[in-house]
Amino acid sequence: MSGLQSLRLVRVSAVSGRRILAARVISFIAALAVGAVVLAACGFDPLHLGTQILKKSLGSRFGLEDLGLLLTPLILTGLAVTVMMKIGLWNIGADGQFYIGAFAATAIGLFVKGPEPAMLVLCFIAGAAGGALWILVPTLARAYGKVDEIITTLLLNFVALLLVYYVATGPWRDRTTGTVASTGRVPYEMPDFFGSLHWGFVIALIAPVLFGLLLRYTKWGYEIRLTGANPEAAHYAGIPVRRRMITIMLLSGAIAGLAGMLEVTGTVHRLQGGISNNYGYLGVMVAVLARGSPVGVIAGAALMAIILNAGIILQTQGLTTAAVLALTGLIMMFTAVADQFAHYRLVRALPVPAASAAAG
């Protein structure tokens, strides 16, 4: 038996990281190639644009500062989603938790007076607590009522956005400088260490590493991993599954809330409706790119940050927003397709195909 008839596509459930990486590199290049053709057809010089992006995002101080500022919230929201993926749950509400973290930090910053370091610690705690509080109801609903956390976390995003708009344009609106649609300036600021890049970036880098270590080297981490892999088995092994689930979900919310706190005290300095900049939703993409690896979140966020930054550079080079969105979407779509393709391989049809498939 030979020839095409004997070949067939087989889905493989477990794929090596190297295979995924290869598929992604290929897809990324393919997306860029398609984008280049479209750009060339529109009268742009793709090579020139490509050089500009590299030069301006990675080759200049401005570009590096911007990357760091983008990475900070992206790593944290990506981590927030990843943390919950560890027990097989989806946190689609990182955007809302981000808003409430920013809201809580702003509340402390505007209405409590104290020495700056102590106040920053207080804002930090408030931000994390705010995020955790925002996911509390979905957590309890999930833990005790098996209510789908995807829906509850997602819908609370809109509530959080409305709340922030209400305070930013209503009771907390800026009365001294008349700045648009935002609260007054929060007087406590995360110190900068590289141009406008603040220490929140370092916190964002430490967080995934810390979580990765906890997961790998502690009993708690082992129990989480077991719960995620097989909740039934974990239950019979005597692991308090419900309690672990609650801890993980609150931790996830706290991390997203922390991202909001750092955005307020480090980057924007005021609470306003646009503050989340969709970081919560982008966090889901980062988590998907990271494929459940806490440290992989940093790489996923870096790719996302470069893509977003490239989008801004392309806009100043004369591309319309729509074209930039389309290009970004193209890269994300190719990546998603590549992840799926990596699961398939071409095998010779054998009497028992599963055996050869499992070998992959």
Partner: protein, 374 residues
């Protein structure tokens, strides 16, 4: 979904209940005045001019009008390089975009909407770049703001509305409870009341500057409530179409969009930034541009009423234009006390004239306006 992301746009003139006067005298860096020294001249062929817009230039409204200004500048200074970014968000991305323009060598950056700190973050660190913020409130050596005195043509349109409305019930499709809306509704009703003292104005807030469906529903609801004249502050023509279908009058904003409702169209508060932008860029290139300016373009020089609609009777147009002539030629200012707010409190005392700054930052409704109180 409610379009909240767009609320933070240019007409969102610092919701704060402050007066521009207080921000004008706000001590900044402990210095009494700004813009003492002009920024150094730039050769036209070396110049890079950046424009950032809140919306898409295809909106046929606000952003389109600023894009026309950019085209006029291009025609005047064809050798300069131009950067133009649409849909600048009200987030840290705004800072990134303007910073990118600076790193692209921009000598002048014109933000056609207000972004506050998100701009100052860049302007404070790029002191050799001229920044202009439409509807802004802060000044610095390299930062000026500008806006239009929209209340005058709005008042003129109000006079026409008072004459045309039979029910005396006027409707207003509002975006957000912001000063441009407070001032617009108040000026419109004040104009109408000069000819019909019983006139009232109902407002529906739709939480967006661009939401044709929402504007259509709001317009329909207002007409169902007895309004026979619609006004508003939208970037599209949806409520004009409703007015056309229902046989009532409508006045619009930004540009001449009468083709969407030729019978209903009364006028529009039309924008023209061309001359102002050309002047500013010329000054920048010549080394004459100074920061620290707060310019409110007067009626006739950047903002005006549009040519009257085809169905507007000649005597109505003539009466409204007589008021316009008084404002243009005699310096007539109709915004004089006594003016009471919706709760009946006297906010402008008898004989007191509202300053351009007070009009620019108006954040309360006059008696007779409903639906806006915050």
């Amino acid at each position: 979904m409610i379009d909240f992301k767009n609320m933070d746009r240019r007409r969102f003139m610092g919701l704060a209940g402050m007066t521009a006067a207080s921000s004008l005298i706000l001590p900044q860096f402990g210095r009494p005045a700004f813009g003492a020294t002009p920024l150094a001249a730039v050769k036209e062929e070396d110049a890079v001019i950046g424009f950032g817009h809140v919306g898409p230039i295809s909106d046929e409204g606000w952003t389109w009008s600023h894009h026309q200004g950019l085209e006029a500048v291009k025609a005047a200074f064809p050798k300069a390089k131009y950067l133009e970014v649409e849909n600048v968000p009200f987030s840290a991305d705004c800072t990134r975009i303007y910073r990118q323009m600076v790193s692209d060598g921009a000598n002048m950056i014109i933000s056609t909407s207000n972004y506050g700190d998100l701009i100052y973050e860049v302007s404070d660190r790029a002191t050799d770049v001229a920044f202009m913020e439409c509807d802004g409130h802060r000044k610095a050596d390299n930062l000026s703001y500008y806006y239009i005195q929209h209340w005058f043509p709005t008042y003129v349109a109000g006079v026409a509305a008072g004459l045309l409305s039979k029910t005396g019930k006027l409707g207003y499709v509002a975006s957000f409870p912001v000063p441009a809306v407070f001032c617009g509704t108040n000026a419109f009703l004040m104009g109408a009341r000069t000819v019909n003292p019983e006139a009232t104005l109902q407002t529906v807030v739709i939480n967006s500057w661009f939401d044709p469906q929402g504007a259509k529903q709001a317009g329909t609801a207002l007409i169902d409530n007895g309004c026979d004249f619609l006004f508003g502050i939208m970037d599209e023509a949806a409520y004009l179409q409703v007015a056309q279908e229902r046989g009532v009058w409508a006045a619009m904003w930004n540009t001449d969009i009468r083709r969407y409702g030729p019978d209903a169209y009364v006028t529009s508060i039309v924008l023209d930034w061309n001359q102002y932008y050309v002047d500013q860029v010329r000054k920048r290139l010549a080394g004459e541009w100074t920061g620290g300016e707060g310019t409110l373009l007067p009626m006739g020089k950047g903002i005006d009423r549009d040519a009257w609609g085809a169905k507007v009777p000649a005597d109505v147009a003539a009466k409204a234009d007589a008021v316009r002539d008084r404002i243009l030629n005699d310096g007539f200012n109709p915004f004089v006390g006594e003016i009471k707010d919706v709760d009946g409190n006297v906010r402008v005392t008898a004989g007191e004239t509202m300053t351009p700054e007070a009009l620019y930052t108006w954040d309360w409704s006059i008696e007779g306006v409903s639906g806006l109180k915050v």
